[in-house]
């Protein structure tokens, strides 16, 4: 039986190798044949017309991820601190499911919600009605942020609950108020877990596709913009819209390979972030 289980465990290595192989074997054509002037010198992402401005997609991803983290960090961390430090067990069992249900909501649902509710009701009211009529990077960013709240909350709550209660008791024994204990003792002790939560959420937001694809306000091409109230494409949304259009783009020779090129860039970013987060998570485990 052991041998059979070993084969199962090795499957994951095969999958990783297969991911790398499919990215690079298909992206290679793009890397070798593209006119790099159309990648770095262009100001629009429009694969059908051989415009591959990667800067447009990177800035799009950066803006959406930035907005998402601005939304998710305070809410997720606040929820985590409350559940870990303040909520009585009874209250916890009532409030915790809010985050669990939120974590179970599929991202397409958040995408539609961002398009038909967040855009008019939140973005439209805050920034002027003309920005709320359709998808924008702002609406998509808020949607992605909501999606990452449960991740931040659960990872940082785990980190804070792993802080030994003797530290809290010692702090209380010295006469510290709960707020001081929380901010000066528990949070610093759990900081690597909280940082890991933040990095993991950034990686998740960077890789989130459907919310931006549905509510990001751009179809299959985008002009360079750094205004969050414009519609644009992120790396992920660009991949999804290219894939949807594959029937039509068969003629444009580099459109399909460019899909894998963007995949390589996205994979490199998320892989780096995940490795860093992994380091931080392990530091928590070692400490206690």
């Amino acid at each position: 039986m052991g041998g059979l289980f070993f084969v199962a465990a090795v499957t994951s290595l095969v999958i990783s190798a297969a991911i790398l192989w499919s990215l690079f074997s298909n992206g290679w054509e793009f890397l070798t044949e593209v006119n790099w002037g159309h990648v770095f010198g262009s100001d629009s992402w429009s694969p059908r017309f051989d415009e591959f401005s990667i800067a447009t997609l990177l800035v799009g991803s950066l803006i959406v991820t930035g907005i998402a983290m601005l939304v998710a960090t305070p809410l997720g961390l606040g929820a985590a601190i409350y559940l870990s430090e303040y909520a009585r067990p009874g209250v916890r069992t009532v409030l915790k499911p809010i985050l669990e249900v939120l974590a179970g909501i599929p991202s397409v649902v958040l995408g539609v919600f961002a398009l038909i509710w967040i855009a008019p009701e939140v973005v439209g009211r805050l920034f002027g009605e003309e920005h709320g009529r359709g998808g924008t990077m702002m609406a998509a960013g808020i949607g992605v942020g909501i999606l990452t709240i449960p991740l931040i909350a659960s990872v940082s709550e785990d980190a804070m609950r792993a802080v030994p209660s003797s530290l809290r008791q010692a702090s209380a024994g010295l006469g510290a108020r709960p707020i001081s204990t929380t901010l000066r003792v528990v949070l610093p002790a759990a900081i690597s877990g909280v940082v890991a939560a933040f990095i993991l959420a950034t990686s998740r937001a960077l890789g989130e596709t459907m919310v931006v694809f549905i509510a990001g306000g751009a179809a299959d091409q985008a002009q360079y913009t750094n205004n969050p109230l414009d519609g644009s494409l992120t790396m992920t949304a660009a991949m999804a819209s290219l894939a949807v259009g594959t029937d039509q783009v068969r003629g444009a020779s580099l459109a399909v390979p460019s899909l894998f090129f963007v995949g390589i860039v996205l994979f490199a970013f998320t892989f780096g972030l995940n490795l860093i987060a992994d380091r931080f998570v392990r530091r928590v485990r070692q400490a206690y």
Binding site: M1, G2, F5, F6, A8, A9, S12, L13, A18, I19, W21, S22, L23, S25, N26, P74, L75, L77, G78, A79, Y86, L95, I98, L99, V101, L102, G104, I105, P106, S107, V108, V109, V112, F113, L115, I116, W117, I149, G175, R177, P178, I179, L200, R204, L206, G207, T209, F213, I214, M239, A240, A243, V244, T246, G263, L266, F267, T270, N274, D278
Partner: protein, 329 residues
Amino acid sequence: MAFSTIGSSGEAAIHGSVADALRGRRRSDTRGWAFEIGLLASLLICLLILGALILTVVTDGMPVYSDRGWEFLDGGLSSIADRAGISQGIVGSFWIAVCVVVVAIPIGVGSAIYLEEYAPRTKLTSFIELNIRNLAGVPSVVYGLLGLAIFVNTFHGFSGADGIERSTLAAAGVTLAVLVLPIVIITTAEAIRAVPQALREGAYGVGATRWEVIRSQVLPYAAPGIFTGSLLSIARAIGEAAPLIVIGAVTGFFSAGEGLNAQNVTDPSHLSERFVALPSIVTTWAKQPDEEFKVSNAAATIIAMLVFVLLINSIAIVLRNRFEKKRSS
């Protein structure tokens, strides 16, 4: 309690103030009070968002059910909003769930058993573990590229079709099975790690082999956790849209395989055909300019999808609770 020696009158009041003092609470601590309110508010905002989401989906989607009811669930894709239905999407999502059960759960549980019970503490083992954690963080759209590059081409042998026809339901199902595999491994490994060492030692003590220990002690004890993890991974796979879009789920409309009856839904020949699933239908419709598609039909499909997902999640919780009750008795 320690304070119960204090005289009976006013005991409660002293009790309260001592308890407050021990918790570090002071009447004048407005900063602390504001902090706590702020923390609670962040949870309440999450609740509010959830409420707004459900309310929006229900108010936009329910009219479709009250007007058309069964016809919407039973119908097929159409370019006319009043005739469009989601039965093909239900078929697609059903078979994706089957693929997860058949492919991801056996492999995932097997590799978790290997990592927790058999694996020697070598560099290879920790590399496999690191690799699984990284796989869990790979964006779903990248799994779509894997499916497009490998599974689409592997499985087209089934139908012998070419071109876009190669994007089959089997390829999509296996891609999503691979996507949730790390989740199955991680949740199963956690459940196995929670099995008390004493159970294993007891079994070894009466002469059981390693496999007998796993089969008779470890797996039964870890079963609720494994089961919950498996169900959650099915729910995750049913809700995932990005890989389907990349692999080539139909984004227009097609007429094959309509109808919501047991015979059609469970017909395995769907695996070698082109496909849609509930989340890919939601995406396609949400991108339409027509409000009836974009708002009403998309929301109605979301209701169907959420019912599935929430049903699976609650089955997971109910079954886990029942298992746990059995164990404690």
